[in-house]
């Protein structure tokens, strides 16, 4: 096969993962660069969701269908990543809920949810 | 034809998404999300037929329900104190109180 075909194969074979990487990094950037506590948690959700997309992508098979057995279907997608991600989604919402609860408490006791201001209040000078 | 309809839905989703991103008002965004949700319901229904396994419409039902709940939720919370700080939002909003 010629080189051009190879590159096309690589592109179509991996672009899902590359986009996932971009999404992950956007989420990760929000978490570490933004000072607003709610925004950080939203970044965390994006980060986690992109990991879910990664897992689900790897389970996909060309020509496969949903892993629910039916007559006259032979090719199914891999069910195991689905199982794992179901669990991970639950973990994700649990973390989000707890993070938001903490943010509410922080707002009540510090009066703000901006990281810089909070750190300034904790270490004056 | 299923595919044509799916593409149309995707286009509509894209347009709604842009409205959601540019805003400008609070209500425009809710409207965009609502429309986006409706389009998602249709998309899920269509994609089931496209892929030849239409028996998973339960998901579409859930989407429709949650869409409604989230619009109600947004309206519910829009009344609260912190939401009212709309000053630097945009020009078309005028406050009564």
């Amino acid at each position: 096969m010629d080189a051009g075909n190879d590159w096309a194969a690589a592109f179509f074979g991996l672009y899902n993962y590359w986009i996932v990487v971009v999404l992950m990094m956007v989420g990760f950037y929000i978490v570490i660069a933004h000072g607003n506590l709610i925004k950080k948690i939203i970044g965390l959700t994006i980060f986690q969701t992109s990991v879910f997309i990664y897992y689900i992508s790897m389970g996909n098979v060309d020509g496969g269908t949903a892993p629910i057995l039916a007559d006259n279907i032979s090719q199914y997608s891999n069910p195991l990543p689905h199982v794992l991600i179901l669990t991970a989604i639950v973990v994700g919402i649990a973390t989000t809920a707890l993070g938001l609860a903490l943010a509410i408490r922080i707002k009540e006791s510090y009066g703000t949810i901006e990281e810089e201001i909070i750190q300034g209040m904790d270490n004056p000078g | 034809m299923l595919i044509a309809a799916t593409v149309a839905i995707l286009v509509a989703m894209f347009l709604a998404m842009i409205r959601g991103i540019v805003g400008p008002t609070f209500y425009d965004r809710i409207l965009a999300v609502n429309m986006f949700g409706t389009k998602t319901v249709l998309f899920i229904s269509l994609i089931g037929f496209v892929m030849g396994r239409p028996e998973f419409l339960d998901i579409a039902i859930v989407y429709a329900l949650l869409n409604f709940i989230s619009v109600i939720g947004v309206l519910h919370f829009s009344g609260s104190v912190e939401f009212r700080h709309d000053d630097h939002d945009n020009s078309t909003v005028e406050k009564d109180s």
Binding site: M24, F28, V31, L37, K40, L44, F47, Q48, V51, Y54, Y55, M58, L80, P81, L84, T87, A88, V91, A94, T95, L98, G99, L102, A103, R105, I106, S109, Y110, I118, D122 | -
Partner: protein, 492 residues
């Protein structure tokens, strides 16, 4: 029932947690939690005995064979860790009733015990399991309960510390999840033993390198390895004392366990240490951790914070021992895991007692405490000596083995640096001793009484254990040695 010990180890505290929620009355819940933790402790003793006698125990959950189902795989390494965790948890729980009386408002006491048991469950689950994804699930159980427990502290800074920990911890857990995903993608399995068989074939692929990097960085975030330690000092200093005592002794140890498990068992020794410059990197980070954290500890005014920094330094010692990658080095690390758990839980419990009587753990409030709370202060002194590594305490034993391992490899400069690091420990421990014994009490403190018995008993159990295991090293050394030999021997 004896065949079911591995699962009982985890589900006893797990089932006890929701039962506590139903019991509701705080002191009943305390007794019940103590009981559950005690049962778990007994289970872990039996397990360790069984493992030492018969070798690795495999328990198939749901009756499904390993790569298809989840299995628990108890070998010497995790049996040892299970013992440490349950032991510390039980002793710390003894003090919990008095400990949370003043630091947590009364309507939250029941929830405190529930979260405590859940956290214990999470750690036990991480250590016992033989399935990579199951590690992630139990990691999240222990982390979520940890965030909440830290946030229960009275100080508003506890909330901020918990939030920071939540962000860092979730990033770490997500990194681990990415790493596990890559490993799974390349091998098709999640079972650790199966992974260790399938990974060598493809160990030269870039994906496996990336998987390794993500798992290790994720674990190091949880481990608070320098320079990823930033969440730890705040979390430890503002959490309720009981929580600090429990976590300082166990949470980082679980992360060390994961590090050992993934590098030695899953990825294999050759991959982890020969193809990657991991050894040099970890030695440098470990030593930097020892020096930076010890130096920072010297300048702390809050004693809890001081000991938190000292914990980061001690993690440095464990990492140095780990990265020698020899049997003696790993033995030293495992010994230090055990010993550090003993001393730090004793020290933080003693600080809890000070907090109970004085209401603060600032260094200036320690003035004159040597006479007012003689038993508590004596405990802090012995614990501090152990931290320095004075002979006849446990701290000496692990440092001794660490030096032996370093000299075995001929790494003299590192050995000298490790000794110098201990000198820094002398300075920060001395500051507390000086304040407690050589400074007059503050004028307006009134009369401070000795800590209540409910505090003193667990503190002194731990302190006596500190001395006992410092003199009679047969048990700990033999188990640690057997565990590290088995890791270097046949793999998993």
């Amino acid at each position: 029932m004896i065949a079911h010990l591995p699962i009982l180890q985890v589900i006893v505290p797990l089932i006890a947690a929701p039962l506590c929620l139903i019991l509701r009355r705080a002191h009943l819940v305390w007794l019940f939690a103590l009981f559950a933790s005690g049962i778990a402790f007994l289970t872990s003793i039996l397990l360790l005995q069984q493992v030492m006698d018969t070798g690795t125990i495999v328990y198939e959950l749901g009756g499904w064979e390993a790569p298809w189902g989840i299995e628990y795989r108890i070998d010497k390494l995790n049996a040892f860790l299970l013992l440490i965790i349950t032991m510390i948890s039980t002793v710390v729980l003894m003090a919990a009733k008095k400990g949370i009386e003043k630091e947590i408002s009364s309507e939250k006491h029941t929830l405190f015990y529930v979260l405590y048991l859940l956290s214990l469950t999470g750690m036990l689950g991480i250590v016992a399991t033989g399935d990579a994804f199951n590690v992630f699930v139990f990691l999240e159980i222990s982390s979520l309960s940890a965030y909440a427990l830290i946030a229960l502290g009275n100080d508003r800074r506890a909330l901020w510390a918990a939030y920071q920990y939540l962000i860092m911890g979730t990033i770490g857990a997500t990194f681990i999840l990415i790493g596990i995903g890559m490993m799974y993608q390349m091998t098709g399995t999640l079972n650790m033993e199966d992974l260790s068989r399938r990974l060598p074939e493809i160990s030269q692929t870039r994906t496996v390198f990336a998987a390794f990097a993500f798992v290790i960085v994720g674990i190091c975030l949880k481990l608070a390895l320098f320079p990823l330690h930033l969440w730890l000092p705040n979390a430890y200093s503002y959490a309720p004392s009981i929580v600090t005592a429990f976590f300082a002794a166990t949470a980082t140890k679980v992360a060390i366990y994961l590090l050992i498990r993934f590098t030695f068992s899953v990825f294999g020794l050759t991959f982890s240490f020969t193809t990657l410059p991991l050894q040099t990197l970890f030695i440098v980070l470990g030593l930097l951790g020892i020096f930076v954290a010890s130096t920072t500890a010297i300048y702390q005014q809050n004693v809890k914070r001081l000991f938190a920094y000292s914990s980061i330094a001690q993690i440095g010692y464990m990492i140095v021992g780990f990265s020698i990658s020899s049997v003696t080095g790993l033995t030293a690390t495992l010994l230090h895991v055990f010993n550090h758990a003993l001393m730090k839980s004793a020290l933080f419990l003693a600080l809890g007692a000070v907090m109970y009587r004085v209401g603060s753990v600032d260094l200036k409030h320690f003035h004159g405490l040597g006479r007012q709370m003689p038993l508590t202060m004596a405990a802090i002194v012995v614990g501090g000596l152990s931290l320095i590594g004075v002979p006849l305490t446990v701290g000496f034993v692990s440092k001794w083995y660490l030096l032996l391992a370093l000299i075995e490899q001929g790494w003299w400069p590192v050995a000298v640096l490790v000794l110098l690091g201990s000198l820094l420990a002398i300075i920060y421990v001395w500051r507390i001793v000086e304040a407690a014994y050589f400074k007059p009490p503050l004028a307006n403190t009134g009369d401070i009484k000795e800590a209540p018995l409910q505090y003193l008993i667990p503190i002194w159990i731990l302190i006596l254990a500190n001395i006992y295991f410092g003199i009679d090293t047969r048990l700990t050394v033999s188990v640690a040695q057997a565990a590290s030999q088995s890791l270097f021997g046949v793999g998993l």
